[in-house]
């Protein structure tokens, strides 16, 4: 099965992480989600966020003007800081 792609291009942190969290909530633990983002902060934020929430950052590659991250879902996803279920 092809991993779902979260297109967060043009949004700024923490929006890409909230969109990623929403997508992770729709896949099973152990499944992967691809994140596309072009906010340079993603380079720092994605690894920290995955570590904090128990997900695995499989890869993060800069492709010219954007980043492509692959994240493997951990056991739980939870509720985001704004209160929205994601």
């Amino acid at each position: 099965m092809t991993a779902p792609v979260v297109d967060a291009l043009g949004t700024y942190c923490p929006a890409p992480l909230r969109l990623l969290r929403r997508a992770l909530a729709r896949v099973a633990p152990g499944d992967e989600v691809v994140l596309l983002a072009d906010d340079p902060l993603i380079e720092v934020d994605l690894a920290a966020w995955c570590h904090e929430h128990g997900h695995e950052l499989v890869s993060l590659v800069r492709d010219e003007d954007a980043y492509r991250g692959v994240v493997r879902r951990g056991a739980t996803v939870g509720v985001d800081a704004s209160g929205g279920v994601t």
């Binding site: 043009g10 949004t11 929006a15 909230r18």
Partner: protein, 388 residues
Amino acid sequence: MVTGGVHLDHAAGRPLDPRVRAAMLPVLDAPPASVEGVHEPARRCADLVEEARGSVAALLGAPAEAIVFTAGATEARNLAVKGLLSANRRLGGHVVASAVEHPATLACCRTATRDRGELTLVGVDADGRIAPSAVAAAVREDTALVCVVHGQPEVGTIQDVAALVAAARDARPGCLVVVDAEETAGVLPVDVEAIGCDALVVGGGAMAAPPWTGALYVRPGTRLHPVVEGGLQEGGKRAGAQDVPGVVALGAAARLAAAEMAGRARAMTGLRDLLVARLTAVPGVRLNGARGDERLPGHVQVSVEGVEGETLALALAARDVAVSPGSACSAAGKASPVLEAMGLEPPWTHSAVLLTLDWRLTVDEVVFASSVFAEEVARLRAMSPLAR
């Protein structure tokens, strides 16, 4: 017998379908809720939005996640042109658009290339057709975006958009192609896979949803920056509170259009051909745009010798026959850029009126309107020194 006048100005929107209205009303009366919320009304709104997304996607042969809801087709055009160019700068700064695109598309292309890049307009033939070879010739190594309209909103010519997309891709495989289907989605079969475009503009008005509703299809995997920023609505591609009643209306209209499209097109085509026959029977009246199956079923634009389009539209309005002078989308009183692109010259470029149909009109209404048209043309010509 016709009472209460005849409305022949449906290019920017058709009367709300009562079934679409019925779908909207409970949402208008429900507690307002952000689809991002955690409570039951919010979950209900989110479910309704996703149901509508699925319906619009199904109408276009697209996956649901490819649909971004917007406030009307013009916002979708802005998002397509500006969002695709912004997110794909590495492709280059050159933009190709047909000379008969909707004015909003052309404005977006001009804005996007004002400081960076260049815009090339592709000409059309005498009926407003865009030639695939002309698109191919305009595409360069730095062409990032190509814009082509499916059903031209002013003269009604239907373009072979699949051939135009293929021509653009043959010339530069990586370029992005936007198709404007405001006048065709929900009216004629539109299949984004068969067309092969990267983005496609949809408007609610053509399918009897509110004209302020719309959507943009974006091929999954295509990079797009939001134009309206600041929230996660529509996957971050269109921030701001969603118009949930409008979205529900568009979804309901899409389901109805899918089920009733053939009958609507058949009804409008019959009325259109009757209207064309009666209008062009008036001496000095010429039909603009393509004929037969190459013309939108609801569009009739004619130029009238010896009469200005705006004057004729006002005269018809005074007789309770509503038409549009030339284009529903261009400034009144100016020569139509679309007609100029088709090679028409004054006075034909200034003497056009656009009559657009709805499948719920009757033969009697079309006959009445065309009789009033003939009377008003004769009256105005009798007053005009130019026509004597």
